[in-house]
Structures are given as structure tokens and as C-alpha cells.
Symmetry: C2
Subunit: 166 residues, 2 copies
């Protein structure tokens, strides 16, 4: 993470967030005044710019949001690895930001991206949301909406721990 | 919340979630085994079924997810009011679930909905994400993408506290 750490250091002097002063400023103003949760994170919704499909739900910390704004490439904060995560640095599936939006109370981010390679899910699917919740008389099960993986995760992430935690 | 509480009681005996037993089960299986965070919540991404637009980012607890599955209407958990929140119960802007999906490690939900009345944001806009983050040589500001409100929040939510917290 040395490269990102040095970038972060430089960023601190350039990209600045505003303080949250009033509800009106936060909801109706032009200041970027994001709210991070108790863990210092803000949730991020990432959709495909062309298709609109939801690709991922992730988190950013203060530094990864600044890096994303500066570089126009998605930088998340990996909770399982506890570090900034430049999406695509390992897999090559860089997410190029086309539009970055924030919600009314500025505690959630929406990124519309183009993905090099077309895949965003570590399991190998195009989207992380590849299963639909089906309710058949209160019998709930999951039904796959993507039938084929786009890539083989063992080839793309050799030796990398699976981020999914029980 | 009495009505919802009684529904919740009934639900407990019907809609059941699976235990999280293995990474393979969670990522590649057909069991619904959602992971709630330390506050008992799971984040929810809500998009418009027709346009694909991101409408809201919210949270559900165990009971509101079960209620949503059972009724096909979005029930969130309001962190500011600390209670289950049947979206549209006050405003009339009910969100009818068309498709409900879950992500790879089952710690995020994607709801594709049709909205009665066409608005989802308590400030009065169609989407909560009505401002774009613009970066002009590290000078960051927000630019409005929706120029007109769909409704007047003071008419729709008379006497209701604003949920936005600083």
C-alpha cells in the first residue's frame, strides 16, 4: 500500500471536505460535507454506467473517497483487509468513474463507472448481485440470475484470501 | 408501529433465514443467510425498476427484511427514529418490490422497485442522489442534477422531524 499511502499524504493538502454546519447546508447546499459512520466509513453504491446494473456495494473511508475524487478510479476501504483498496489493482478490473453523486444527508455515495474487463465480483460474476431472493409461500430461497462466471477467481486472484467472512 | 409489530410477530414463525455455515454456502448456494452488522442492520440499495436510477440507500434489520419479503413492499429500519419504517406509510410513496437480490457474501440487498407517486427522497426530489460531486483542480463542490422538486416536503410530512442528522 506504499503507493496509495504516499498519494494519501499528498491529497490531504488538496481535496478538502466541508464541515457539517446545518441541515440546510447538508441537504440543499453545494458543499461536499460527507458523514462517515462510527468506523470512519461511508457506504458506496457502484453501478455500471451503460447498463445501470448494480455492480457492488462497498465502503470508503475519508482517504479512499479523496483518492477516488482525485484519480477518477474507484478506491474502496476493505473491511476484511483493513486497508484502502484500489479496485482492479490485482484483477485488472479497474472501475473508471463517470459520475460520482452523494445523497441528501451526505452519508452515502453513488458511483457510476465503466469497468475494464466487465467484471466486478470477486466470485467471478459480472455483478456481486447475481442471486434473487424468491419467496414461495414463506419458503425463501436464492435463484441465480447470472448463469456463467465471467472469469475464474483462482486464476485472477492466485493466493489471495477470500474476503467473504462468516 | 403497532400494526408492524404484530406483523413481525406472525412473521417470525414463517420466513426463516439460514445459518451461515460455509463460504461456499454463502457465495454459491441457494440458502438465504444474510449477515447483519454489529447494529443488527444490512444496507439496502433501492433502484427504480424502469429507469434503473438509484433512488435510496437505506438499512433493514432482520424484521424489516422479513416484512419486505412477505409483503413485497419496502420496509426499512430508520436509524434516526430507531424503528421499522414502512416506506410510503406517511407520504403515500409506497415502494413496490419487483425484484429483491442479495450480494455474494450476503451482507447487502438490492431492491428494484416501482414507486407510487414517483418520489423517494424526503427532501422532495425523485432520487436521494440529486447532487454530483465535481472536482475542479481539487476544488470540490456539489452540482444539482435534479432542478425541480417532485413534492413539497412540508405538505407531505407535516410535523415530522427531519431525519437528517449532523
Amino acid at each position: 500500500m506504499l503507493k496509495e499511502d504516499s498519494e494519501v499524504h499528498e491529497l490531504n493538502t488538496k481535496v478538502l471536505f466541508s464541515k457539517r454546519l446545518s441541515v440546510e447546508q447538508v441537504e440543499e447546499g453545494n458543499d461536499l460535507a460527507p458523514k462517515f459512520n462510527g468506523d470512519g466509513l461511508i457506504p458506496v453504491v457502484t453501478t455500471d454506467f451503460e447498463s445501470g446494473e448494480l455492480l457492488m456495494h462497498g465502503y470508503m473511508n475519508d482517504q479512499s473517497l479523496k483518492l477516488s475524487i482525485k484519480t477518477n478510479e474507484m478506491h474502496y476501504f476493505s473491511r476484511s483487509r483493513n486497508q484502502i483498496w484500489h479496485k482492479g489493482a490485482t484483477s485488472g478490473f479497474i472501475q473508471k468513474i463517470q459520475t460520482l453523486l452523494i445523497d441528501d444527508d451526505q452519508d452515502a455515495i453513488w458511483a457510476r463507472v465503466k469497468v475494464a474487463g466487465g467484471a466486478s465480483c470477486h466470485v467471478g460474476y459480472r455483478s456481486c448481485f447475481y442471486r434473487e431472493i424468491k419467496n414461495n409461500n414463506q419458503e425463501v430461497s436464492l435463484e441465480f440470475t447470472e448463469l456463467e462466471k465471467v472469469f475464474d477467481p483462482e486464476e485472477v486472484y492466485p493466493g489471495v484470501d477470500n474476503p467473504t467472512k462468516l
